[in-house]
Symmetry: C2
Subunit: 412 residues, 2 copies
């Protein structure tokens, strides 16, 4: 099946918003094995919209539109689709009831314009909108299918999931199903080298590599009659990748190293305090992003000045003088100092040169020391990062969470 | 002049990337008064690409493409454009020299494929690429203009600025020029109400309102022969808006409240320390984002537990018991405590309920107290925010920077 995606809205042509709907729909269709040959954006203009829909149906069997379902006179997507199929608009009582209850809920009077949204092309499948006022529409005739979705992503995405996905899945003989493995701390080219033979031999399942922040993601996708069959096809390749990457694989599916590590800490009830220099609060903020973390996260100190390192963490003046604030020795004393002050199982420290200034020949920008105190023992790690200030700080945080994850696994 | 934007790349049709180039180019053209009627995305397919370009030139005088200028056989944008204009590709020596020096700089051998990038349509204007290997192309004949830009935004944007903008500006009788005013701490509908009369009377200049995070942005745009003329047309409306919004306007142009406030602190050499509860390190992190901040930012404490508030900041146990950790009294003691401990001019504290749990009838989720110690005096502010945990934390940080900005202006 060939598909086209059509976004309707002058605000897209003015560059006021970016067309994330086209990306979302394209990705969904790719996963279902439906080819997308064109994405088009057209303004709220009746003539151009009509031309575009008629033109697209000359090339494709499926058109998915977003936008232009609103209550104003400019909103013409539904009307134009009805015209293509030669249908008139009729009242849908359930849509009208939902509209009325929506307006009574927000304590506003429904205008005549709004009522327009409850009219749908005769014989169409109506997709009721739980997150807004515009219902979506599916029309199908003579091998042509037109799907109209509302423009706001928070309405479009749930509607796609609830109605469009199962509707299209029924048309497809095969589905595409994926498993995603997240690999920490291995560079892109190294990771690709380690699966080169798998990549060159791939047929079904296929393997795709993505690089995202500090991690490499493998998406293994199988084409099969159903999810169960697909999982059977995927399993041996997943096993092989686990064999090669071992505990560098930190999770499967949609998650982050921060979430995975915090969950481990909370599950094991390990208390934590952090002392930050170069990350300047980002590490504490990453912990406190997580709801419920107050159970185990006790305290964070952003000790930017040497004075604060001495006073707050008990770092020795001698250590700072002899080895410098950016050193393995200082990182160790910071980690131990914060854990002892806060009385926690774990103390973590960061000290480094995030740039753009402050680098030296011996310790260039990107040099970072991480300290980890874990139930009485202190370790440190020296890393060398590239990129701007923001990237160096962010990578330090990610690396810290990953190291902590590995140490928890070792210690428990 | 009517324009169309054409993005070339299968990765867009697969939904692997979002088409930010179309947004960028659309916005630029809108500012220059050039109408965009269509945006199209097409894959790396010779036939469909050719059809799309020929079709677009039936409707428009200007086509701007992005992508498909790479070294592989799939990259056909330049070749297809040359075909439309009936030109052959010829070697551009400067482009070749730049390619060679690029490859010698990265210590890699240039392949024959790469050399393809130095061939350009005869008679075309070549846009040399300082940020990548593919030069851009401008072809113009018989009232039709085709502009080919490389796909990566970090190459496309500088090339647009350097070559395309001045090229198109020459064609336009009038230019559009804007000034941007950033208003803190006023809600969208309130801000729009305050300029309703201006909005309904607008002709030239026009005024547009955008809401972004905690702020409202006014863009005042004039159509004129040149920038100087435009500024003269804009000035009276800008004056009027300053009169109405006063010091709620915190800056003009592209910046953030965080940058503006940190610059004030650095300029006046005011030292700062922060004590955070609900923002959990985000405030310290926002300060330490700024390069050079170590001159004035001394220390941050993330005191999540009551114990840490007492031990680190000298908050009285009695205060915590009587008023709770989320209270004006605790905020005041935290702010004073951190300033005294760190010996800074300014101490800032946050304590609140970021959710999703922890709210009560008296102090619902979103209740936040900010404390500000400024050279011996302590003030607090109670705010009530809506949204999820992330939004409440972020708004607290923005509000804190805005309050601090106002207090610095008052005190100095």
């Amino acid at each position: 099946m060939k598909a086209e995606i059509l976004a309707v809205g002058t605000e897209l042509l003015l560059g006021d918003i970016v067309n994330t709907n086209a990306q979302y729909i394209s990705k969904q269709l790719a996963q279902m094995g439906i080819d997308v040959y064109y994405q088009t954006v057209v303004g709220d203009n009746a003539q151009r919209l009509e031309k575009t829909i008629f033109n697209a149906f000359d090339r494709a069997e499926l058109i998915i539109t977003s936008g232009g379902l609103g209550p104003t006179e400019d909103d013409l997507t539904k009307e134009t689709g009805a015209k293509y199929f030669g249908k008139k608009l009729v009242l849908d009582q359930k849509a009208m009831d939902m509209l009325e209850s929506f307006f009574s809920r927000i304590n506003r009077k429904m205008t005549e314009n709004n009522a327009k949204q409850a009219y749908v092309p005769e014989g169409a499948l109506v997709m009721y909108n739980k997150n807004g006022t515009a219902p979506g529409i599916i029309m199908e005739e003579n091998g042509k299918t037109l799907i109209n979705l509302p423009g706001p992503p928070k309405e479009l995405i749930p509607m796609f999931e609830e109605y469009v996905k199962p509707y299209l899945a029924k048309k497809q003989e095969n589905i595409f199903h994926s498993r995603v493995l997240r690999v920490a701390k291995i560079g892109e080219s190294e990771a690709e080298d380690m699966v080169k033979d798998i990549i060159s031999a791939q047929t079904n399942p296929t393997i795709a590599t993505y690089v995202k922040k500090f991690e490499v993601i493998f998406r293994i996708t199988a084409k099969a009659k159903n999810e169960n069959e697909a999982n059977k096809i995927i399993e041996p390749m997943v096993q092989e990748i686990y064999k090669r990457f071992g505990n560098n694989i930190y999770a499967e599916g949609e998650t982050t190293i921060q979430k995975v590590t915090c969950k481990k800490l909370m599950d094991k009830n390990l208390t934590v305090a952090v002392a930050e220099s170069c990350t300047g609060g980002m590490l504490a903020s990453a912990f406190t992003d997580i709801a419920g973390i107050s159970k185990i996260f006790m305290e964070g100190d952003v000790t930017y000045s040497n004075d604060a390192k001495i006073r707050r963490l008990g770092v020795k003046e001698e250590t700072l003088q002899k080895h410098g604030a950016v050193s393995s020795e200082t990182a160790a004393e910071m980690a131990q100092g914060i854990a002892e002050a806060a009385g926690t199982d774990i103390g973590i420290s960061t000290t480094g040169i995030a740039g753009p200034d402050g680098g030296t020949a011996e310790k260039p920008v990107g040099t970072v020391f991480i300290g980890l105190y874990f139930k009485g023992k202190v370790k440190t790690k020296e890393i060398h990062l590239v990129g701007n200030r923001e990237k160096i700080r962010q990578r330090t945080v990610d690396t810290t969470f990953d190291w902590l994850r590995r140490e928890i696994d070792k210690n428990e």
